[in-house]
Symmetry: C2
Subunit: 236 residues, 2 copies
Amino acid sequence: MNLMLIKCEHIQNNLTKIVGRQLTHLNEVQRLVKGDTVRVGEVNGAIGTGTIISIDKQTAMIEVNLTLRPPAPLPITVILALPRPKMLRRILQTIAAMGVKNVYLVNASRVEKSFWQSPLLAPESIEEQLILGLEQSRDTLLPAVHLRKLFKPFVEDELAGIVGESTAIVAHPISEQRCPIDCQVPITLAIGPEGGFIPFEIEKLVQAGFDPVHLGRRILRVENAVPALLSRLYPA
Amino acid sequence: MNLMLIKCEHIQNNLTKIVGRQLTHLNEVQRLVKGDTVRVGEVNGAIGTGTIISIDKQTAMIEVNLTLRPPAPLPITVILALPRPKMLRRILQTIAAMGVKNVYLVNASRVEKSFWQSPLLAPESIEEQLILGLEQSRDTLLPAVHLRKLFKPFVEDELAGIVGESTAIVAHPISEQRCPIDCQVPITLAIGPEGGFIPFEIEKLVQAGFDPVHLGRRILRVENAVPALLSRLYPA
């Protein structure tokens, strides 16, 4: 937790009460006492400092002074085949930590149906992972995560509106074209499941204006492909 | 397992016997039968095809035909503060999957002493993770992983020889200089523990010729920083 994120409804007159996971972190990892300061941000708001007014095992009261802007979002929309639940948690954290603000979790032929039953897809569970990612990287802007359980209507009816004027690419190991580097333009990036999109899905994405691009001969797991792609598309 | 890696001592007259984890994968994930083919590589050797001669629950016999070269190694040496055991497994896989061939796991002030007790540091355990990474990305060249439990003698006595003529950089979030992109030169890259190298350690690395570089305002976990750094230094 490099930044403690607080929702605006929990801040009144620059005071906020901390309980639960964040309090445990203040007590047991950071070992803070009255008068100490901690880096604080408001969800979707500014970043600054919190001064500890009181702290014990039940609660901490913190006075906040938030003046800095969060880092600029990446101009990217990520279309991600729903990963297996074990990976989903980490990938949501990664996406949030790296500055993506718009994510579509979509179905694909190689996504196991059971993945859609995961309790990790509950909105409060998704938000929890996103907040952990933002707290790691010191950002405050909560990404929007949309679930699309049907691939074909999503690609045929909705995707053109999402892509808009952006450059649309799909990570596809067997493509001829190298993934671009250091892009200065908005991108819509599609990433398949383990095993990749099937040819029909690639074809539908190409019809929707996506260029298949590769990351070299080595095939990466999705959890490595995501940071590798974001880092080369928008090296900060 | 995008490639099944076999040690050379297990290949005789182009025949190899498969048991254990790899056999389970052939049977339960790939569901292969006699006559099917599978992508095979020899550890530190060539890549090609294996044809299944026989397969049951106990063993499979495979005839291999290995003719392709593995992908070119990245011209990088990674000096990594020993990650916590939970992360070590994944990071070793990532490093192997992305083409790093030379790794030093080193101590640092923010590395907990207990991490050095982990059974995951046993040579056979490290090799297991490296093989999993290579099998994921379809590489065969096993990285060399060196353990250095003392930071100061490592940096003072050994590091200059490791760096040689390469460009030496240390990932350090509060540095002024941006991490380079698309390097065409050999690099020695140092990556600190969660929380970063302490100022003394950065100072010692700077004395050893390392330039501190940042990856932007967002602070990444080590398991994301590794693929993010490798991908921007050497975008394939």
